[in-house]
């Protein structure tokens, strides 16, 4: 039997990609990509010495893929339902085995992914693979527990209700997007969350379309031997039937005029100004997107002239920051400021406008650009210190691109960004007709 396995493996696995073998790379660990015949991809990242393994399954479906009206929030809902068990391992058996391993096990959902992870002692790797591969292929649940879990999901929504940021973000997305599914948050529209208990049949269809091997990527990071893992992958995932059905996502039409929205928070809060420009879709080789990522922090981050002026010297704001992050499709580049006095809101918006104009009109200093590049590189490298943290960072990259080569590509692109590229990004993205201006105030002053 063992003799038969080798040719099968050669057939199913692609050629290993060893990052270090291909020259100077930024990502500091060697890794291998392996793809089964059914399209299921695994990325193995050995990190010796910890005695632990982080086991991440990345479903490249997040709230972005919820395109059917009235059915938002299901990607997140599945994060919950995936703990409801299979015929082989019903929920109680699954929980028991996970508990016996002492695993740190959880899941998370975003716009572009649903991630499931376990951090386990190395010797439990095969047990983890047995459990995880089973539930991704064979999840089963009855309507009654489905309805009960919907209650827990609504509870999760409720626990966030007190936050003014939650209210602001929901409103911002609703205002900024007309067609694209980024219009709703990952939790979903509240009216849809309330209706979830009635959508048992839809939930099964959601699972059937998206939880397929071509749409999932396994990341194994930590203290393990890749040679021992490879046969396990075929054993546990080889029988997973392909059948992914891509969502029908309507692109967002170009925004042609500034949008404004005022929000009232029922409690007491500092006023919040949130200015969000339509950004770019992630592409690690696209200088414009990478330049915009740096621009957000250069112009509005804690080392920016604007932060020093408004937060430290004038003390008009408690905080201000720019988050020009990455997303699979075009989303938002946001600037948030917590303003201390309502009367200063127009002034703060005016200062943000002046900063946008300055970055579009003038070149940033080369020192400032080099400093933010250094910060980005050191920040990323220092975050890769445990299997769990490496898995967590890479899961986001996998969600955006399907692999982790984008890490090296991103930092190579970043190294080549010039001060002229930063200016070009400011001119391209920081245009008033691309933005939504949200102002939130508390009902109690």
């Amino acid at each position: 039997m063992r003799l038969l396995l080798l040719p099968l493996l050669l057939l199913f696995f692609g050629a290993p990609v060893t990052a270090r073998a291909q020259g100077e790379r930024f990502f500091p660990y060697d890794y291998e990509n392996l793809t089964l015949e059914n399209g299921f991809k695994s990325i193995l990242v050995p990190m010796k010495g910890s005695g632990l393994v982080a086991y991440y399954t990345v479903v490249r479906t997040g709230s972005r893929d919820e395109y059917e009206p009235g059915k938002t929030g299901f990607a997140h809902f599945f994060e919950h339902m995936m703990f409801r068990g299979t015929k082989k391992y019903p929920a109680s058996a699954y929980n028991r085995l996970v508990s016996e391993m002492g695993a740190e096990a959880n899941a998370f959902t975003g716009d572009d992914l649903t991630g499931y992870y376990m951090v386990i002692p190395s010797e439990k790797l095969e047990t983890a693979m047995d459990l995880e591969s089973d539930r991704f292929q064979n999840l089963t649940y009855e309507e009654a527990p489905f309805r009960t879990e919907a209650g827990a999901v609504y509870g999760e929504y409720r626990k966030n209700l007190a936050s003014p940021f939650r209210l602001a973000y929901e409103t911002l997305l609703k205002t900024a997007f007309d067609k694209h599914t980024y219009k709703h948050t990952t939790m979903g529209f509240e009216e849809d969350i309330k209706r979830m208990p009635e959508l048992y049949e839809f939930s099964k269809s959601f699972f059937d379309r998206y939880y397929r091997p071509e749409n999932c990527v396994l990341l194994i990071v930590g203290d393990f031997e890749p040679a021992a893992v490879k046969p396990m992958l075929e054993k546990y995932y080889g029988g997973w039937k392909p059948g992914y059905v891509a969502p029908t996502i309507t692109p967002e039409p170009p925004q042609t005029a500034e949008r404004q929205v005022d929000v009232t928070y029922t409690g007491r809060t500092l006023p919040l100004v949130w200015i969000a420009y339509k950004g770019g879709a992630f592409d690690p080789t696209d200088k414009s997107v990478v330049s915009a990522y740096l621009l957000g922090d250069l112009a509005f981050g804690e080392n920016s002239e604007l932060y020093k002026k408004l937060a430290i010297r004038e003390q008009k704001v408690e905080s201000i920051n720019g988050d020009f992050g990455f997303s699979r499709d075009q989303k938002l580049y946001g600037i948030t400021a917590r303003v201390k006095d309502e009367g200063d809101i127009p002034y703060v918006i005016g200062e943000i406008d002046k900063t946008a104009e300055k970055f579009a009109g003038e070149l940033v200093s080369r020192d400032d650009l080099e400093n933010i590049k250094k910060r980005s590189r050191y920040g990323y490298l220092m975050s890769l210190d445990t299997p769990e943290r490496v898995g967590s960072r890479l899961a986001r990259t996998v969600a955006l691109t399907g692999g982790i080569e984008a890490v090296d590509q991103l930092y190579a692109t970043m190294a080549a960004v010039t001060v002229q590229d930063i200016q070009a990004a400011a001119r391209r993205y920081l245009q008033k007709e691309r933005r939504t201006v949200l102002v939130l105030k508390g009902a109690k002053s």
Binding site: A105, K159, A162, S163, R268, K308, K340, R375, L381
Partner: protein, 498 residues
């Protein structure tokens, strides 16, 4: 070999330098191939040292150090210097400890260490920085804590309720009025009095060389001498019956916290016995937790239900607690994340009933064995990074645990018997004398329901198994004994006013 691996994971490969004068307050955790170096500078001072009427002073002082100018650089310049290193100096203040932490890549080691030293040893306490930081504190208490973090508000209010009239009573960030009273001179005096040689512990972890450790100790040994003058451990008032504080707010769901002091600290045998039982009852953010199974999984009432015997600040956003929040007087507490208002009494009853069953009946053999197995693996996740290991090593000094907390925990999981755990439960836990905090609307309605022990039947939108329905009948009439004089109602705007 297995023990060696365990030691590596749990961070027990550390040593304190006792060979040179005064170096017994140096904690080192070298990790040869670590490309980064982690620092912790810990002072044995915390909010328990705040003078009356100046509550919040310890936290304000530490924040002004971490987020203010030094004698050599303005705060803007400090930020600019730290920026390319992707490093910062963060502060954390609890009842008994103040810690400054920072981590750097070895490429920037000299520059970072120089800044860390300067920030902690040469703060300018500039008026302009003081005004900014004080204003941030006031906004935090007036707006964020009172309005936008109900879960944290409930837990902080519970500490205040349990430790009334002790140095543990007030929230670390202080009160609205006490913050108003604090001046920059108070900050300077506080620093002078408490940031002394006797009070400091310096920790280094990761890829540093020995000369840096010597240098660090020499640098921090220049702090002035002072009187350590420890604050006596707080003695909370005796709790008789169930005492309730209702923070009235217009909210859609009710956050509930309840608990009592246990007087058992990390290191003692009973602590680990209680840790096992508490893990089974309510391990934070896991489906392993029994309360979670009863209230969330079976009934779908909320997002999670947990139990603790140690402080866990900002637990709504983390899976594991930070180190360096060591306290001599911990409490047992149960935290029910917000439940629909109409189920608030039912959920409270359900949790109390589970606590009663645990105290009265103890853990079963099966529960005990499963929890031991669970914790054998799960305790490996508490301190995965060098920084976390360093923090726990410093805590070990506080609690006097020479072998290290996590190694002792592992050993206790092998040694403790079910009988010992159940005896510790009967000795230290109870379900009749405790304090509870609700954040909820219609406070009078809740008070009436509690003092009248009114039944709290529950209905569901979905079908539930027969055993759940039958158990609900018992939960809904579980006796709650609350005297009217033991219920206090406050408005959200009155909490932490001072």
């Amino acid at each position: 070999m297995k023990k060696l691996i365990l030691s590596l994971i749990l961070g027990a490969v550390l040593f304190t330098m006792g060979c040179k004068e005064n170096q017994d307050r140096l904690v080192l955790l070298p990790v040869a191939d670590d490309p980064t170096v982690s620092f912790k500078v810990v002072f044995n001072v915390g909010s328990q040292n705040d003078p009356a009427g100046k509550e919040g002073l310890a936290a304000l002082t530490a924040t002004l150090i971490a987020e203010g100018s030094t004698k050599k650089h303005t705060y803007e310049e400090v930020l600019a210097l730290l920026y390319p290193m992707a490093a910062d100096v963060s502060e954390q203040v609890d009842k008994e400890m103040t810690v400054f932490s920072g981590r750097t890549h070895k490429d920037n080691l000299d520059a970072f260490y120089g800044l860390l030293k300067e920030v902690v040893l040469e703060p300018a306490f500039a008026e302009v920085d003081f005004v900014r930081v004080k204003n941030d504190f006031q906004n935090y208490v007036r707006t964020t804590l009172r309005y936008s973090q109900d879960e944290e508000l409930g837990k902080e209010a519970l500490y205040e309720f349990i430790f009334a009239e002790t140095p543990y009573e007030h929230n670390e960030e202080g009160y609205v009025k006490s913050l108003q009273a604090i001046t920059v001179e108070d900050v300077r005096e506080f620093y002078k009095k408490h940031y002394t040689r006797e009070n400091v512990v310096v920790g280094l972890g990761g890829g540093f060389e020995r000369p840096l450790a010597d240098r660090a100790w020499k640098d921090f040994d220049t702090l002035p001498a002072g009187d350590a003058s420890p604050v006596p451990a707080p003695v909370p008032g005796k709790i008789e019956g169930i005492q309730v504080k209702i923070i009235e707010k217009d909210v859609q769901s009710t956050a509930i916290s309840f608990g009592f002091p246990i007087g058992v600290t990390r290191g003692s045998r009973d602590f680990y016995a209680l840790a096992i039982a508490t893990s089974w009852l309510g391990q934070h953010r896991t489906s392993f937790a029994h309360l979670y199974q009863v209230i969330r999984e079976a009934r779908g009432l909320n997002y999670g239900d947990y139990a603790y015997i140690e402080h866990f600040p900002m637990s709504h956003g983390a899976s594991f607690p930070p180190p360096n929040v060591a306290r001599r007087q911990p409490i047992f507490q149960v935290w029910l994340r917000p439940v629909p208002n109409e189920t608030r009494v039912f959920a409270f009853r359900a949790a109390l009933r589970e606590l009663r069953d645990l105290v009265e009946n103890g853990m079963t053999a099966e529960e005990f064995e499963l929890t031991r197995k669970f914790l054998k693996g799960y305790t490996l996740h508490y301190a995965p990074t060098t920084m976390m290991k360093l923090g726990y090593a410093i805590d070990d000094r506080f609690y006097g645990i020479e072998e290290g907390h996590w190694l002792r925990f592992s050993r206790m999981l092998d040694e403790l018997t079910r009988e010992e755990v159940n005896a510790a439960l009967r000795k230290h836990f109870n379900y009749e004398n405790l304090k509870a905090v609700f954040i909820t609307p219609d406070a009078e309605g809740l008070k009436s329901a509690l003092v009248n022990n009114a039944p709290s039947p529950i209905t569901y939108a979905s079908e539930k198994p027969t055993e759940v329905i039958e158990e609900d009948k018992e939960i809904s009439i579980y006796p709650i004994v609350v005297k009217p004089e033991n219920v206090t109602i406050v408005k959200a705007d009155e909490v932490f006013e001072g």
